[in-house]
Symmetry: C2
Subunit: 357 residues, 2 copies
């Protein structure tokens, strides 16, 4: 097993001291980069990009060539999983994802199955190829959507602003929703374990929509299934610990519950105050986040100032990975990303120097 | 001054004992009611409905005729205010609001003014006429959008899912955004005071979009201006205290800060746990909320069960007004609203009986 040249990200997730705060950005390979748009134009559709390991590797590495990021993340989409379950995923240009066969009745939900991982071979091939292409420079992060977040898309059939179909199901046939979530949890566990076997050195669970639930419903319909997954993951591969990061957008009220799942780290959205989060979860978990992605729409000096402000809320203690509080916008100027990354590295080194006095 | 037949709502906002928990619903006059759709068809556009005091009165009273609700709320829209500032509001069918002249540069923002309240006379006429038509049955609630929420629409020019224009402004020219927010705060203060003078017996500030901000930005760009408004409101009219309710959707992490503004009550969205909220704010404020509006998409028995569950999180102590955690959906079956209202009244009477033991 080749040693990593830069293991700062993994060390921070283990809450070990690091010389500076590592940084990566959710959706760091994406439309804000002209080289991404060029590859995408060559590949065809968004899913053509995901399904081709060479293209997926190319776009995964693009942001690392531009910025000194401390981790790479598999280029893929959370909806590969329900697509493999036979729901018929497509992306209409400018419209977001859509499923041809959303789950709207008992028959559809009861017919659902844990898919053969062969249907997701293209993802695992991409993981292997990216890991190889990284040549031990920085760690590779694998990921999946959470069971509840996947269920939102599977039941709504597309994005939603009121989630009325899944809430109708939740509040009329909770048994059917639990059936669906249990299948999703088993699928995601296997999906992430196979990513780990193929080279993912950390994994992240994206619970994009858990925040649309009441506290009681979050615990019952989202958190319980993420806990199952955390318990079922391979936490060691090739002698190395594989950390798990849990991220619920809008989950700032539930950090204590999330920390109790046994995960290694919590992803924080940008509404959460870093110091408050640390006070609440103590040293049970590392924290990842949480600059407002909207800051990147501002001026370079404000990007630097806000980046320092966020770093200061977490302080120089071990156990922080810098990130945005949500995915980077396609409209973000990449020069601002450069400012962000260099500010994280420089200011966090200063924090440590100052802390040592 | 005629005494109210049912002052349960006002008593609960003053944290005085009541025989049962009062209930009203955000957007209770609206599209889920067939009688609303009929009036709307007669009136013409949504703004035609708002601008005609007779129609506004008719739709305000419709839900009270159907359900034993404990308060009426003025039928209007938060965007009447920027419309009066000359931004040119329209509602394209099925598309939401749009401004012809969004604020996108320094000149536009510096040209903004506190409008003459004469431009909003139709709102105050509706308040007077509704108050008269209620004949002292239940109290009338006036309302406004918060300065930040209004600014979101004024800068974005429409609804948004990333708020990138206002965030670009916030993180490049915060001085201009503060200029805009200060004008909005002065306008909203006068707007609400004029509603109070015309008959509103309680007022509510809707901060629909404060929850898209970081903790630091929420305090600086939303809460600070709501605090100014609370300080500037007439809190007594005709010898009666006029309570102020503050509602930030997605504000569950900031309840202590909100309670410190001097308001009488906090509106809670459905993600907040009632017991946790009460423990955090103590007896400084009343609490209003917070059933997930999505529950109304479910079965009648689940509506009743979830309504009881939410009531139980608040307990039988004085100072709770039942509501949804956000506006009712146009798709909510009105039979479920009937179940909700009767369950609130029946279960909350039982809670008090049981508490007395």
């Amino acid at each position: 097993m080749k040693q990593l040249e830069n293991d700062t990200f993994l060390r921070a997730l283990r809450r070990q001291p690091t010389d500076y705060t590592p940084v990566w950005l959710m959706r760091q390979a994406g439309r804000y980069l002209p080289e991404y748009r060029a590859t995408r134009a060559t590949a065809g559709s968004f899913m053509d990009l995901c399904r081709n390991a060479a293209f997926a590797t190319e776009v995964t590495l693009q942001p690392l060539a531009r910025f000194p990021l401390d981790a790479a993340i598999l280029f893929s989409d959370i909806l590969t999983v329900p697509d493999a379950m036979g729901l018929g995923l497509s992306f209409a240009e400018g419209e977001g994802p859509r499923f041809a066969r959303p789950l709207r009745d008992e028959h559809a939900i009861k017919s659902l199955y844990v898919p053969d991982m062969a249907a997701l071979k293209y993802v695992f091939d991409a993981v292997s190829e990216i890991r190889h292409a990284l040549k031990g420079s920085v760690p590779l992060i694998g990921f999946s959507g959470s069971p509840f977040t996947l269920a939102c898309y599977m039941v709504e059939g597309a994005g939603s602003d009121d989630f009325r179909h899944i809430k109708a199901l939740m509040y009329s046939r909770p048994d059917l929703l639990h059936h669906l979530l249990a299948i999703n949890a088993r699928t995601v566990t296997t999906y992430l374990n196979t990513q780990i076997e193929n080279g993912a050195q950390a994994v992240m669970l994206f619970d994009t929509w858990g925040g649309v639930l009441s506290t009681a419903a979050y615990r019952e319909f989202s958190l319980a299934y993420m806990r199952q997954i955390v318990a079922g993951l391979k936490r060691e591969q090739d002698g190395e610990h594989v950390p798990v990061v849990l991220f619920t957008k809008g989950g700032g009220q539930w950090l204590e519950d999330m920390a109790d799942t046994g995960c290694d780290a919590l992803g924080l959205d940008w509404t959460v105050d870093g110091a408050g989060a640390r006070a609440r979860v103590g040293d049970r978990v590392a924290l990842q986040g949480n600059l407002d992605p909207g800051v990147l729409m501002g001026s370079a000096d404000q990007v630097a100032a806000e980046t320092c402000r966020v770093l200061d809320t977490f302080g120089p203690q071990p156990g922080h990975v810098f990130n945005l509080g949500h995915g980077i916008s396609q409209y973000a100027p990449y020069d601002n990303v450069s400012v962000l990354v260099s500010t994280v590295h420089a200011h966090s080194r200063n924090q440590r120097r100052f802390a040592k006095g």
